[in-house]
Symmetry: C2
Subunit: 380 residues, 2 copies
């Protein structure tokens, strides 16, 4: 029986991962980690009976330990605890669905412990791709993408030689503000930005989709995952999000993966790769669909994407700064401290003010992150 | 160096196969077979220097033998010669691009001689799939589809387990008469039917595309090639022929292959499978493309497709009758002996008048073919 550990089990990807596990019924959950939603975590513990759980917040961990005192589960906390979950000896695969830079160390630890990674943490590859990808090769572990676009590309590469990739065509919905000018975007409120046309996701990623910063992060991830250059990754706006992404090969053939917007598909694909299994849910209906339309991404009114290309091309610590500045800016926007357009202005400012360090270590990545945070605090 | 024999070297697929071979420059052409275009065949002989060539027509073979008397090439003729070409000892792969039932025996002979088959002859699988597919398995040879749709499906199945196919989505342009009613189709002339919207092909296949008989034959081929039922093959009309076909898997994922309408892609893919190589030519341009639209096939005004489903579901000798009746009917239409709508009427009549034989041998298939020819001669 395949054994699984989940970092971020109470989030959107974490809960859907557990749905897949429950539905398939032939995986064992050995360890779970959550931020502070101990109510949901307790439910998960009682249902899946892991040996080990981590709660990021120490106080909450203590609270949980009391309430699950009747069960044979050990409760740990903090980064040390998160790493313990990531390296839980019996797990075969670790789903890294925590949000933010805290995902990097546990991911590295899991790989060093020989685990396959079902990767749902964007920051890992964006900031530390130069560390992660060679490590995966050295350790002989799989990095299995858990998001719709990269899973699609990964599926398109099934049985193919990566060296024959000509272009990766990363699709984008264009977000709720597609077609709007910067002038029109001035007045965007939090409520407007939280309405994604096709996918139901967490708050931060929904904002990131609206600014196309998310697509920019995905381009950088694709570069690392599929060993291509930034310029080989082309963003294609496809408003209905039916085509989840495509690959054009040397011979001109374009392979695409299409589907309904259901995150359980890439999750299940990663967990059981290379096997495909029945997944209950809606199927793509070409008759009600009628058509798939394509557009060029608007890099002018949505500078998030062009800034990402800049960061990814330059490399070093610049992608970290791009990501950290965006993280902090979105937080401020969600707290109604800054305007919508200030998000990308803040990213641009932080990038311009940064002196890039090449091939940064994890420590240097975290330093660059902090520097970006400080820069933003000092300026806005 | 990979060695290739081509049956039907002077036809559309044959000449494009030689273009691919010439362009790649690392295959040896060991044998060629043509119908009666000895002028073109001689050019091919002088360029590719095969050891053996076959001309179907005996008189033409003699004529050619004289004109290539200066070269170390043996000229043979008829079915015996065709089989000699198909089994030429040094060939690794045989491209079967002859049109019609004469493709069956040489294909079987080539497989028995252990050759991989790049299959461009529709009749082989439509009429004798129950013989061909088990033979391929027994002999351990590959059947590599050389047409746009089946190559697309084959590419979608790269690295996948065929058992997880839920549906094969075979795309169709809908032909030049898409959207027309039977009333409007009454007056169709040969010139109208020879205008295909996307592909430039031979005359018979262009007519077959306009009646959707071609799509029906493809559905039957797909059934055999990919080991699915007729009802698992769904025809999706996609007027621009951008998506060459798709596969929906058990998990709901749909894989698609897209491209420009260039037959050299499936030809090259079959010749070098599983390798992809650079192929000069136009690339799919999503910006000029703008959109891909889908429609249900019109089975009422285009009964060719529903008759094919009937034939394929019933099996035995019925697909042979469907194909033979169509072949003869198209010939009569091209000779302006019958009207456009009579093509499918003739197929229906022949099918209704036929007593199906189960699991027919090659002889029984050829008998059923003759019976269909006779039926049509006697009635029209």
């Amino acid at each position: 029986m395949k054994k699984i550990a989940i970092l971020g089990s109470t989030g959107s990807i974490g809960t859907q991962t557990l749905e897949v596990v429950e539905n398939q019924g032939d995986m064992e959950v050995t360890a779970l980690a959550a931020g502070n939603n101990i109510r949901l975590l307790e439910e998960q513990i009682r249902k899946f009976m892991p040996k080990l759980v981590c709660v990021w917040n120490e106080e909450k961990a203590k609270e949980l330990a009391v309430s699950v005192g009747d069960l044979p589960v050990r409760v740990v906390s903090g980064m040390e605890g998160l790493i313990e979950v990531a390296t839980e000896p019996s797990a075969d695969i670790v789903v890294t669905a925590v949000v933010g830079m805290i995902g990097i160390r546990p991911t590295i630890a899991a790989m060093e412990a020989g685990k396959d990674i079902a990767l749902a943490n964007k920051e890992t590859l964006v900031t530390a791709g130069h560390i992660i990808m060679p490590l995966a090769k050295k350790q002989g572990v799989n990095i299995l993408p858990v998001d719709s676009e990269h899973s699609a590309i990964f599926q398109c590469l099934n049985g193919e030689n990566k060296k024959t990739i000509h272009k990766v065509l990363l699709t984008a919905s264009g977000g709720p503000f597609r077609g709007k000018t910067r002038e029109e975007l001035k007045s965007v409120q939090v409520e407007d930005a939280l309405k994604h046309p096709n996918w139901s996701m967490g708050r931060k990623i929904t904002i990131d989709s609206s600014t196309m910063v998310n697509k920019g992060l995905e381009v950088m991830e694709a570069k690392w995952l599929f060993d291509v250059s930034m310029d080989q990754v082309e963003v294609v706006v496809q408003p209905k999000s039916i085509i989840h992404s495509m690959v054009e090969f040397e011979d001109g053939a374009v392979m695409a993966q299409l589907g309904t917007p259901d995150m359980k598909l890439p999750i299940q694909y990663a967990l059981y790769y290379p096997e495909r299994r029945f997944l209950p849910g809606e199927r793509l209906d070409f008759w009600s669909l009628k058509e798939i339309a394509f557009e060029k991404p608007d890099m002018v009114n949505f500078p998030g994407l062009s800034l990402a290309y800049q960061a990814g091309r330059r490399g070093g610590t610049l992608p970290t700064v791009f990501n950290a500045a965006n993280e902090r800016a979105v937080e401020k926007f969600l707290n109604r401290e800054i305007s919508y357009l200030s998000i990308t202005d803040m990213i641009e400012g932080a990038m311009n003010g940064h002196t890039v360090k090449e091939n940064p270590t994890v420590e240097e990545i975290l330093e660059a992150e902090n520097a970006a945070y400080e820069y933003i605090e000092s300026r806005w």
